[in-house]
């Protein structure tokens, strides 16, 4: 059993972790594609994105094409936090296996 206190709580929440994972897989994601991939409601997704944006992990770009579209991307801070989160998970696994 190991303590997860060092894990970034902001990322560790399952909805936000899904969002961070998708954002890490491509340069940017339109809101509708994120929603479709995650099967989340508009409200739920917006709330999580707002939390991540306020933490400086996610940037957004608003475009006015045929209809308004918002695209989301990881910031350098967000990418670094996600990488640290993954590294910590791996360390926990290695430590657990070594014990």
């Amino acid at each position: 059993m190991l303590d997860f206190d060092k894990l970034d709580k902001l990322i560790h929440e399952k909805g936000r972790l899904s969002i961070m994972t998708l954002l890490a897989s491509r340069a940017e994601w339109p809101f509708q594609e994120l929603k479709a991939q995650l099967n989340m409601s508009d409200g739920n997704l917006i709330t999580h994105l707002r939390t991540l944006h306020q933490a400086g992990y996610v940037s957004l770009t608003k475009e006015k094409l045929e209809r308004p579209q918002t695209r989301y991307a990881l910031t350098a801070k967000g990418r670094s936090a996600f990488q640290e989160y993954l590294q910590l998970l791996e360390q926990i696994i290695q430590t657990g296996k070594g014990a």
């Binding site: 899904s18 994972t21 491509r26 099967n39």
Partner: protein, 211 residues
Amino acid sequence: MVTVSDAESTLKTIRSLMERATIYRTLSAPTSLCAGIFSLVLSLFVWLSFCQSTRFFIFLWLALAIVLSALNTLLLKRDARRRGEPFVSSGMKLALRGIIPPILAGASVTLFQLLGEPILTELIPLWMLFYGLTLLSTQEFAPSSIRKLGAAFIAAGLLTGLLASLWRLEGNSHFAALSMGLTFGLLHILYGLLTWSSKETSNGTGVNEGL
């Protein structure tokens, strides 16, 4: 407090989500089945010698390719709408960048043949090779079945070209019909049947349940 297995499970889900998020399928299972069935019918038509002219043979297959491309586009559009994604998604843009060069190369070779005296036993292996290359050009983000179909077409193209050269089959309409039927017909039907109900065709990641 969580266990090591929780950490492993989380990492596994993250990996799975990243992989599935980057997959884009350029050929739908229904289109593949239609392509296979129409190709078999067309091959039978040629086999029974209803198609005497080489140019007519080429135009028939080109017409089928255009109809099936239109059908595939409609089905991809319908799938994108069902998932709530834009039709011209980042996945499609990535796919188009990969498939356009081999398609243009195949179209150019066909045009050059039509401008001269077309030789089917040269053209058919080239069609298979360029089609295989088209499928393989999406391999970085395509499901494994597309990669296998592409590899099968490459192998079939090489084998067909080799057999046609060794057996000196220029102008043999039965060989042309058989090779087109076995590849564009049977391979597409096999692919369509195998992928129709497989997990690969399911959309969405079900992240809320997975994590």
